[in-house]
């Protein structure tokens, strides 16, 4: 049966992705839900919740708020929290509840900006899509709202788009920065160990490094707006995975991850027939002929063609008899590389 999960738990949803992008930017983020979605984000999909404080709240919607569409009450509550917590902007993240009642997020943005005096961005996530869709929308909203000014380009400065725990399994940017600093003078990971100022100054970057498909639309926007070129890379593949692929020869290998990570790792595997796959969005500009996996049945069918799978260990439970190399993906199993 399509969309039936018998072996794995649901993968990270779009609202988690949106929150992940905005987490460290000094905003007041409101998850427009009854409480459960915020609990999923804070208690599971956001490992920084226990390390770095962030003004991430649940709107605490109740049935009558949903039935009557009481957006004014939501805005009142948002204004109240703005008077209690210092913030540079506000953000409203959609969930299944506003999706079902067709909340007008554009109107909510205007009402919020009027009431609080702070810029507001909204992400129309619905909880039915995967995290990369939410990240994509949040990155685009963020750069569109704040990266407006064309500043002089700083030679050797690169911006990284897609550095979230869900993509990388990392809660700090140091590993990515250390790796990219071998090639560039200055590295900034947008939204991880850097604040809103770096988003505002995005045009300073000579180049952007996109480490997940969720960053493509934002990178395209920056290219169009400021002429900033971008390229794909995933500079944080775990060492143990890199060591294990050295032993592979003459095998049919399938690498499963988010598409950029799968492609970067795939290119490092020598002497094998390598295909790349993802349960998440597939974009031809990252890799042609990459495989999209729709559900467990699809995985079972497609995995039959391979001797080796490299991917999050959770997928192994669906049923694969060959060699399996664990390449953790936080958006799948909720494990950071540190857990590993």
């Amino acid at each position: 049966m399509k969309k039936l999960l018998k072996h794995i738990s649901p993968l990270a949803p779009d609202d988690s992705g949106a929150c992940s992008v905005l987490y460290e930017l000094g905003s007041i983020v409101v998850i427009c839900d009854a409480g459960g979605c915020a609990g999923n984000v804070c208690g599971f999909d956001e490992p920084r919740w226990f390390e770095k404080k962030s003004a991430l709240f649940s709107a605490g919607l109740r049935d009558m708020d949903a039935i009557l569409g009481r957006d004014d009450r939501l805005v009142e509550k948002l204004a109240k929290v703005c008077s209690q917590i210092d913030a540079k902007f506000t953000a409203v993240i959609g969930t299944p509840v506003p999706a079902v009642i067709a909340t007008d997020l554009k109107a909510l943005k205007r009402m919020s900006e009027q009431k609080t005096g702070l810029p507001c961005i909204t992400v129309a996530s619905t909880g039915t899509h995967y995290y990369d869709k939410g990240e994509e929308a949040a990155y685009l909203a963020l750069f569109t709202e704040f990266a407006k000014e064309k500043l002089p380009v700083r030679h050797g400065k690169v911006g990284v788009i897609g550095a979230t725990p869900l993509n990388t399994g990392l809660t700090k940017a140091d590993r990515i920065i250390a790796e990219l600093s071998k090639k560039y003078n200055e590295v900034v990971c947008f939204g991880m160990d850097s604040g809103l100022d770096e988003i505002i100054k995005a045009s300073e970057c000579e180049k952007n490094i996109v480490i997940s498909s969720s960053g493509i639309r934002a990178a395209e926007y920056l290219k169009e707006k400021f002429g900033t070129e971008y390229e794909f890379d995933f500079p944080c593949i775990p060492e143990n995975v890199l060591k294990k692929i050295e032993t592979l020869t003459g095998k049919n290998v399938l690498v499963i991850h988010q598409q950029v990570a799968a492609n970067v790792l795939g290119e490092k595997i020598k002497g094998c027939q390598v295909d790349r796959a993802s349960w998440f969005d597939i974009n031809d500009s990252i890799g042609k002929n990459d495989i999209h996996i729709k559900d467990e049945d699809d995985f079972s069918e497609k995995s039959k063609n391979y001797d080796v799978i490299i991917g999050d260990i959770s997928f192994k439970k669906i049923g694969f008899k060959g060699e399996y190399i664990d390449f953790p993906h936080f958006a799948v199993s909720g494990r950071t590389f540190a857990d590993k």
Binding site: L5, A34, N40, F50, A66, K80, Q84, T126, T128
Partner: protein
């Protein structure tokens, strides 16, 4: 940036229940899903939320029918051995708009039952806010599932939207897990304890006291290993509720199975514990002699007091107690409680009023207030009680006192002081 909001017990009591400040009323502000209180805001994040609780029937499995976001953190339960009992039917936008998922559910239930190498005792269908808004008639869908798959199917409603309603999710799921009980001849020397999804501690005196009253068998859902044992629950002569969230389930059992119920409260003031046992004895027509337990507990409290003096505590709400009743108990025993992180309501306002008389300056915070993001300690505190209190004061000695196995009666009081003693004796 404003400091964390608090109100003193005296101010709160003087204002009365009808004049509580907005910061103590969760519907009037954004909700801070503090790491301290995740389990409150996210049923399922910790402890027994709807999803885990719904699997209390031995041999049952659960099908969560929802958008992916609702089932995401269920992965946490895999570590507790539930991975083979959870299945998910993910909803997409078209499902939500057309409601077509409802026709899929019976087929999915059949597919699951056919593929499992055992026949589940029941399939719990867990639905969420989406179906609450769509007005899904899940009873009807469950009947269809039973026809198709031949397995009892029960709805479990994880409707976070209705948390403050007459039937909040955790009360509704308590009803759901007893729904498969069939009427049978009742046995006069058996009773059930209802309320939690884990049993009371084995050394709780209630077992011995009931035994002296002629009760030969005390059933608890969480101690049932098989569906046959579960089925025995309906032959109890009466139900004892030890958590008010089970009241609705007990009312339903009274109506359907003819089992009356008696409601008890977990208390930490031992004179009240004594009164409660006296009333329980009267209700079941027996004299419960709790003198021995009363004296033992009194002695333990005295010993603790003599050893540590008049300690100052902070008490949270992620604890096996009503934080305000516990604060009142500690205050009456001669200790000081400077801060409480809790939720005030009709149920516990009576404790606030009494506390206001004995300790008017005790500060009351709301864990859910966004201002708790700015919480800083300003009071001298010797020890803390509760998971949330430990989060706010990681450098202080304290106990979480939030076990899944439930303390009750004198045993709860004894365990509290034993744990505190053990913790305070340690250097770090």
């Amino acid at each position: 940036m404003t400091d964390a909001f608090y109100i003193t017990a005296k101010e709160l009591a003087n204002g009365g229940l009808d004049n509580m400040p907005d910061e103590l009323i969760s519907s009037r502000h954004m909700i801070y899903s503090s790491p301290a209180t995740l389990d409150f805001n996210s049923p399922g994040a910790k402890g027994f939320g709807v999803k885990r609780a719904g699997l209390a029937i031995p041999g049952s499995v659960m099908l969560l029918v929802a958008p992916a976001c609702c089932g995401r953190n269920t992965a946490l339960l895999n570590e507790l051995g539930y991975s083979e009992r959870f299945f998910y039917l993910l909803l997409d936008d078209t499902d939500i708009v057309t409601g077509r998922h409802l026709t899929k559910i019976p087929k999915v239930v059949k597919e699951l039952c056919d593929e499992l190498d055992y026949t589940p005792s029941a399939v719990m269908i867990c639905i969420t806010c989406v179906d609450a808004l769509l007005g899904t008639d899940m009873d009807r869908v469950c009947r269809k599932c039973e026809e198709t798959a031949g397995v009892p199917t029960v709805p479990a409603y994880m409707y976070a939207l209705t948390r403050e309603k007459r039937l909040p999710p955790m009360a509704a799921v308590r009803k759901s897990v007893y729904m498969l009980l069939e009427p049978q001849k009742r046995k006069s020397n058996e009773c059930n304890i209802l309320g939690h999804f884990a049993p009371l501690f084995d050394d709780c005196e209630i077992y011995e006291l009931l035994a002296t009253a002629g009760i030969k068998k005390i059933h608890e859902l969480s101690r049932c290993k098989t569906f046959e044992e579960y089925s025995e629950l309906s032959r109890a002569n009466f139900n004892i509720i030890v958590n008010s969230e089970a009241r609705y389930a007990a009312q339903d059992m009274e109506k359907r199975l003819g089992i009356p119920f008696i409601e008890l409260v977990r208390l930490y003031r031992i004179d009240k514990v004594h009164n409660q046992y006296k009333l329980l004895g009267q209700a079941i027509g027996a004299e419960l002699d709790d003198g021995k337990y009363y004296e033992e507990t009194t002695e333990i409290i005295e010993k603790f007091k003599n050893k540590y003096g008049a300690l100052t505590f902070a008490i949270g709400e992620c604890v096996n107690a009503d934080s305000f009743e516990l604060a009142l108990a500690l205050t009456e025993y001669g200790f000081k409680v400077t801060e409480i992180y809790g939720t005030v309501g009709e149920r516990n306002f009576v404790f606030v009023k009494r506390l206001a008389e004995l300790s008017p300056e005790t500060k009351i915070f709301s864990n859910l207030s966004p201002t708790m993001l700015n919480y800083r300690r300003t009071e001298k505190i010797n020890a803390v009680i509760g998971n949330d209190a430990l989060y706010y004061h990681p450098e202080l000695k304290g106990i979480d006192f939030n076990d899944e196995i439930q303390p009750f009666g004198y045993q709860a009081v004894k365990l509290l002081f034993k744990r505190l003693d053990e913790r305070l004796e340690k250097e770090i």
